[in-house]
Amino acid sequence: MRELSYREALNEALVQAMDANPDVILIGEDIGSYGGAFGVTRGLLDRYGPMRVIDTPISEAGIAGACVGAAMSGLRPVGDMQFSDFITLGMEQVVLQGARMRTMFAGQVSVPLVMRLPGGAGTGAGAQHSGSYENWFVHVPGLKVVMPASAYDAKGLLLAAIDDDNPVIFCEHKLLYNARGHVPEDAYREPLGVTRILRKGRDLTLVATSLMVGLALEAADQLAEEGIEVEVIDPRTLRPLDDPPIIESVIRTGRLLVVHEAVETGGFGGEVVARVVASEAFDYLDAPPLRLAGKEVPVPQSEVLEAAALPQLQDIVRDARKLVRNQV
């Protein structure tokens, strides 16, 4: 089985999409000779030339707008925000234009863009380069939000996102770029809006996103040694959220823990919990559904503080154990 890193998987998805469809173009800062801040677009300028790999000045609103305008003209632009945080400069174009245009114009236009947001903390980049903003976009009708946690999903979901006729916010994680995994060579698609159950278990439903998925699986391994069987679920697409598998899981396990890196308050975990408790699963709950998330603080730069701000493996193990043992 061929293994690639998440970075290589994304790069291969771009290559396959661009080979197959001349309408696919890339727009962003330093995506040319530099290969993107995280190397995802390496080699693509040489391969596709400057008409399709558009290296821009530092103008995030301009980039976001260029993506919207290109998409409404029938191209399939893939924008690169360099760091997820910089989308704060492009919110107007993405949210007020890209996401709303189709409805405002009564379906006359579609806006098939993908905006790649390299997000997340853990590299010591500090408070302005470590953010997780996915729930802002989950809160915007007209957008789809995708968040791959493995190299396999990175490729399959990116190809599907490029195919999609809607604006898709594609949330990557900096600490995953080097994560390796099986990645088939063909241009496979992982459909958007399909939740994946990664590990079956009867005691607890553990919903995790992005970098937390790996930690959740590790935690499940550790807990298995204590006889606690955790079901690990990765929604992969946050909007639209495929919630039935989560709800069915909670019906079986009676317990829910949602883990994400973004801060808890106002975050995606609230959405998952609210959906589960509003569903048939309500009657099967044996314990309060819980969230575990980033601490309510701008991510500090130094290692010890940064680690303290982010959910760690042992936090997941601890919260899961408490939930299963009814110690909450």
Binding site: I25, I27, M51, R52, I54, T56, P57, S59, A61, G62, A64, G65, A66, C67, V68, G69, A70, A71, M72, S73, G74, L75, P77, E92, Q93, L96, Q97, M101, R102, T103, M104, F105, A106, G107, Q108, V109, S110, P112, P141, G142, K144, D165, N166
Partner: protein, 338 residues
């Protein structure tokens, strides 16, 4: 290109005549008259409570609306802004549809979803109004990139106001377009105010067009109430864009005769100032009509006939829009996703 003392100029008339023909010129005046009649009517409808939401009227800016769009041809695209009835009428010549949109009825372009600021007729190249000041500018870059990539014989024109030229989006978009020499024409309708802010409180420079220098592109200030000046300047810019010579910034000096929007008490200007802009030597319709009469293209009778047609088309449009069904709420979610 801006002339302080506007006179009837025959040189530009001949140029426009060559490009548009006498019928094209007549149509252009008809379009300007349609806009005027339409907007006067909408103003009344608003006061009578028959429209809802906000309203930004194009009265006084007809020469810019029509003059710029007549410089485009089929296959070209353009973006309007919040003050877009004039653009929509000039491009689509469909007062019924525009009126239906403003009244939130079906039968317009956007079936009750868009309204006054959000009309579009995408297939025809009208890429939409915009509620966000300068909101279209970044998008025009993407349209320009698409045209360039596909080597289409087309251009993208984008309208925006004087106020919009102070948004960061203006800066980023013009710089990007210049770097890629995109076929985009930026038409700034400098109507002297951004809401309550007069241009001289919003800029410390002589002209908005002078900002073109900051991006290494040509910039022109023109008399936006002179159809011929607008047509001529935009036409040249379109030619440059088609030839691959990149973007142009055109600043058309004009005036907003009505208040900014429905809620404007207009404390920031005098009635006298407004009146001065309505005089025959400034009003864009009177000026263009007089040019066409002096040029021997139309006579007074033609003008009266055009005016009557404009009025009756607007009356029809109102009747039609009032008769059109309201949107069906069961269709609320129809367009959120493709």
């Amino acid at each position: 290109m801006f002339m302080q003392n506007v006179s009837v100029e025959m040189q530009p008339l001949h140029l426009a005549l060559e490009a548009l023909g006498p019928d094209g010129l007549k149509d252009s005046l008809a379009s300007m008259m349609l806009i005027r009649a339409f907007e006067e009517q909408v103003d009344q409808l608003y006061l009578a409570g028959r429209t809802r939401g906000t309203l930004h009227l194009s009265i006084g800016q007809e020469a810019t609306n029509v003059g710029a769009l007549r410089a485009l041809k089929s296959g070209d695209r353009f973006f309007s802004h919040h003050r877009g009835h004039g653009h929509a009428l000039a491009w689509t010549d469909s007062p019924q549809r525009v009126m239906a949109d403003i009244m939130g009825k079906t039968g317009g372009f956007c079936d009750g979803f868009g309204g006054t600021m959000h009309m579009a007729d995408v297939k025809s190249g009208f890429l939409g109004g915009n509620g966000i000041v300068a909101g279209s500018l970044p998008m025009s870059t993407g349209v320009g990139l698409a045209i360039r990539l596909r080597a289409e014989d087309a251009v993208c024109l984008v309208f925006f106001g004087d106020g919009a030229a102070n948004e960061g989006a203006f800066h980023e978009a013009l710089n990007m377009a210049s770097l890629s020499q995109l076929p985009v024409i930026y038409v700034c309708e400098n109507n002297s105010y951004a809401m309550s802010t007069p241009v001289n409180s919003a800029f410390n420079v002589e002209s908005i067009a002078s900002r073109a220098a900051a991006y290494g592109i040509p910039g022109f200030t023109i008399d936006g109430n002179d159809f011929l000046d607008v047509f001529h300047c935009v036409h040249s810019a379109v030619r440059r864009a088609r030839n691959g010579d990149g973007p142009t910034l055109v600043e058309a000096l004009t005036y907003r005769i009505k208040g900014h929007s429905r809620s404007d008490r207009q404390a920031y200007r005098s009635r006298d100032e407004v009146r001065r802009w309505q005089e025959p030597d400034r009003d864009p319709i009177l000026r263009f009509a007089s040019t066409l009469i002096h040029g021997g293209i139309l006579d007074e009778g033609d003008i009266a006939a055009l005016k009557a047609t404009a009025n009756s088309r607007v009356d029809d449009a109102v009747a039609c829009a009032e008769a059109a069904p309201k949107p069906d709420p069961s269709r609320l979610m129809d367009h959120v996703y493709a």
